[in-house]
């Protein structure tokens, strides 16, 4: 190790430089990511049940006093204090004051332990005039020892996860995982402003102009994307208008074990999205290749405009057009044609028959979005060097051979990129299904987003708690898909998409 001041080689365990007298500090290590993960685990654990009922989850019933955590403690200040310790702990890790971070994690645990043994928790037993909740109060030890109502209780997963989080937060301080990702490039660090070897502050200062320009976007993202995420807490609550109360993992248990409609919607989401993606991408590639072969420019532009147009129509308009074309009455053009041609005897209810709805849905999507999907492919095709085609022509390659050996390989990377980027969005299917489905085809058409909409707005209690848990599950699957796509992208293209 060298002295920061005079670069003199220092003896082992030296406290001051023997040459210039400069104090020798312990070299700062990298950010202790594992410790931060530990703190985040502790934060998540604070929302999970510390104690939970043994009552079986039944369809239709919302049990009383199902779970207890910081979210239904009678003194919520304890939770705020806990969060304060967690935030302080994370900041200490970031500031590389690891000893203080350990103190914070222990402090958070002490707050949690005091809350567990020393405070009372709410049990919602009814409602009161004015939109409030009628509550009873109990301690965790009381419900563990004596139960509540006819129910017995056990230690919930929140307690176990809290302990795991604590261990990870403390032990993580001693593991510097980032060093395995850093390479000694043998270059002075001051020339590496954008590398991992530079400090964050220096990087921010070096690119301050860019960060300043990014600031409005960051603020917008924080307000519109991250702020609403705080609503995730509703996934752990039973939503009573204006007064959600804590039910632990009740919704997730119901959703994953009892809810036929949820699983049906989940299955439909994947089927409809993935098949639609494959068909749309395939059709866009074919149309692009065909358009690319057109040499008459006015004709090409006209065709391009025509195929782009449906993209700008709303789904309501598209559905109205298809509803008229596919009508089962004698006014229906398609059924009229099929009957006239002797292909069918009775009209087919394309939009209300489970056997035909999905096919019709794919066709509607193809009609609407194929043209728009060709934009990227046409841009790629226009970038292929004409020299390659000329050379191939001289070598005697016909159009088909040129397509197979020049065009498609040049297009392959774009196809994969488009496919991967869209695969990450497959869980977001809503409008097209919402507009075109009806109760008769619900079994093959209902998707997660429409299911959430129905549960929220189709009458009865707007069950925001349950629908938030469905939304969280959807986001979780979406995240897996994005990470999977990122991995696939790295493998295929050499770089990720996130």
């Amino acid at each position: 190790m060298q002295c920061k001041s005079c670069n003199t080689e220092l003896p082992k365990n030296a406290k001051i430089c023997p040459k210039c007298g400069e104090k020798v500090g312990k070299p700062a290590g990298n950010l202790k990511v594992i410790s931060i993960i530990g703190f985040v685990i502790m934060l998540i654990a604070s929302m999970l049940p510390f104690v939970q009922s043994n009552e079986a989850v039944l369809d239709g019933y919302v049990p009383k006093g199902f779970a207890f955590s910081f979210m239904n403690i009678t003194v919520p200040v304890m939770w705020y204090l806990f969060i304060l310790f967690i935030v302080a702990g994370i900041l200490c890790v970031v500031a590389k004051k690891e000893i203080f971070s350990i103190i914070c994690s222990v402090g958070a645990t002490i707050v949690w332990a005091i809350s567990f043994f020393g405070f009372t928790y709410d049990i919602v037993v009814g409602k009161i005039t004015g939109g409030g909740l009628k509550k009873e109060y109990t301690t965790l030890m009381n419900v563990l020892n004596n139960g509540y109502g006819d129910n017995t209780y056990h230690i919930g997963c929140g307690t176990y996860i809290m302990i795991i989080g604590l261990i990870v937060a403390i032990v993580g301080v001693f593991f510097d995982v980032l060093k395995y990702f850093k390479k000694d490039l043998g270059v002075d660090a001051k020339y590496l402003s954008n590398s991992l070897n530079q400090s964050l502050g220096l990087k921010l200062y070096y690119y301050r102009g860019f960060y300043l320009m990014y600031l409005p976007v960051l603020i917008m993202i924080l307000i519109f994307n991250y702020w609403p995420m705080l609503g995730c807490r509703y996934a752990f609550t039973r939503y009573v208008i204006g007064n959600p109360y804590y039910v632990g993992l009740y919704h997730f248990q119901i959703m994953l074990t009892n809810d036929t409609f949820f699983w049906r919607s989940f299955r439909n989401t994947l089927i409809l999205s993935i098949i639609k993606l494959i068909l749309n991408t395939g059709a866009a590639v074919i149309i692009s290749l065909l358009l690319n072969e057109i040499v008459n420019m006015p004709f090409k532009k006209t065709v391009q405009t025509i195929v782009y147009l449906p993209h700008f129509m709303s789904w309501v308009v598209i559905f109205s057009v298809f509803r008229m074309l596919l009508s089962v009455n004698s006014s229906g053009v398609i059924n009229g044609f099929l009957i006239g041609a002797g292909l069918i005897k009775d009209p087919i209810n394309f939009l209300a028959d489970v056997h035909y709805w999905r096919g019709t849905f794919y066709v509607m999507n193809l009609w609407k979005d194929t043209g728009w999907g060709t934009v990227l492919f046409l841009a790629t095709l226009s970038g292929i060097s004409p020299d390659l085609y000329e050379a191939a022509q001289i070598d005697g390659a016909n159009r088909f051979k040129r397509l197979i050996y020049i065009t498609l390989p040049a297009l392959a990377n774009t196809i994969i990129t488009v496919f991967i980027l869209n695969l990450a969005k497959v869980m977001n299917l809503f409008e097209s299904v919402f507009v075109t489905k009806s109760p008769a085809v619900d079994s093959v058409a209902s998707v997660l987003q429409t299911y959430v909409y129905d549960k929220t707005f189709a009458g009865g209690n707007s069950d925001y708690g349950y629908t938030t848990s469905v939304g969280l599950f959807k986001s979780f699957v979406g995240m897996i898909l994005v990470l999977g796509c990122n991995y696939a992208s790295k493998k295929v293209r050499g770089r990720g998409i996130v």
Partner: protein, 537 residues
Amino acid sequence: MKKTIKKLTAVGLTLTSVMGLVACGASSSNSGSKEKKTVDWASVEKPGTFKVMADGTVVKDTNGADAFYSQLEELTGLDIEWVRPEHSAYYDQVASTFASGDLPDVVLLSSDYLALYANNGYLWDMTDAWAKSETKNSGRLITSADKIEAANVVLGADGEEAMYGFSPFRGNGCCTYVKTSWLEKAGLSEADVKDKTLTYSEYYDILKKMKAASSSDYVISAPGWIGTEAPYTNYLPEFYQDAEYTFYLKGDEYVDGFAQDEMKAALQRLQDAVKDGIIDPSTEGQTTAQARNKFYSTDPSTESGVFTYWAGTWADTLKTNLANKKLDDRLVAIYPIKELGSYTERLSTAWCITSAAEQSGKAEGIFKYFIDTMLDGGDVQMLWQYGAKGTHWDDKAETVTLQTAKAGDAVKSYTYEEGKFHFLPSPEDPTALMKKNHIDPVLAIATFKGEDPGASSLTDVVKDNFEMFSNHSDVAKPLPMTETLGNNITDINKARNEVISKVALGTWSVDEAMKYYHDTVDSKADAVIKSLNDLLK
């Protein structure tokens, strides 16, 4: 070091305040219930500014609402802040408003929402106010008024039944209209259906004859197989007959109407009618506007000949629209068939005062000066029934000319003498005359102190039709709202609607459909039935 600590403290406090918001949901609500106050109604004063949320049944901003608001303020001296969401998205807005906690002081609610919000403690108990109100004690109430208001007596948050809303008008209902021209084409006459109680087989025979004689693909095209609010079955009543779509009190206990044999028989009738070409298969997912347009269709292949739709004012509107399309406008509103017994009058929407008004001490004043004046039998009732004088109606001598819908249409003009009540062209659609404001004149639950000044505006068609409907209808029975019902009804109705659609379109047999229904939602339905029956104990 000091600087680092300062920075960390600042960032830490900021982050903590943000993270702390996560914990906001845990803030506890106060418990306990309030004692009911005794109010000296004579000394109740005007409430000051208050917020009223209403749907598009009160004249909309585009239809001269400003004139209505200012005349109401002039007459009552009330300072009202109006909240007027888009009519089609009204209940989405209501749900969002209640969820956000920023409650209006007064809100117009359907029976389902009234029961839901009352059960959650968000509505003010107006039982005492109604009992002592001028309207109730005016002697001008129609005989069925008590029955109408009884539907607003629902369970509150305290588990006690009380009146949480006031309906100034009846809910109205649907009756079946038959085109005379279609009857004649089928070799029948008005006399074969008018003022007669047909049996289902007689009615079905008539439908079959009409189908055989017409070039249309169907005879009936309805707005969906089932309605979205009680009484649900009102658009195809002859086919559902005594079947109940949802839970109802049978004898001394609640049962799931959908699982009863009556519903199985109804589903079979629907399937047969679609198969026989009587009912349009496009009824699936069809809106009311689309179904109406088929009734007015000038294309013989898509025209419908029988339509079950709203009674009263709509009887006249249907005729007018047929005439406007130069179609034969003769209609017969038939009596309910024997198996149906009577048409069902839906539960009316109700004006409710929220807990926000109660907390600000305005509830009593709002009831006395806003709600209790709606049916004052004088000028305020005129406003609520017919709209603003000079904008929606007038009584001065003048000639009213309607704009033509398109060039070449005949210009319609009406001349009135001084003192004669008449409607003016609708500000929103100057090609038609205004018909009413919030309270349909034939549906008001209280009469005027003297003669109804606008009575002359009611056509014989409207009066006769509504009289027939009134004599042959019953008010739908409200279903109490329990938490279990509210939690599960969406899933249960989803299964029910799927069953109806698939049976009607012939995808499933009735037995297959009912098996699916039982397999899918039986446990939820059982939970609901248990919660409802617990109320009876």
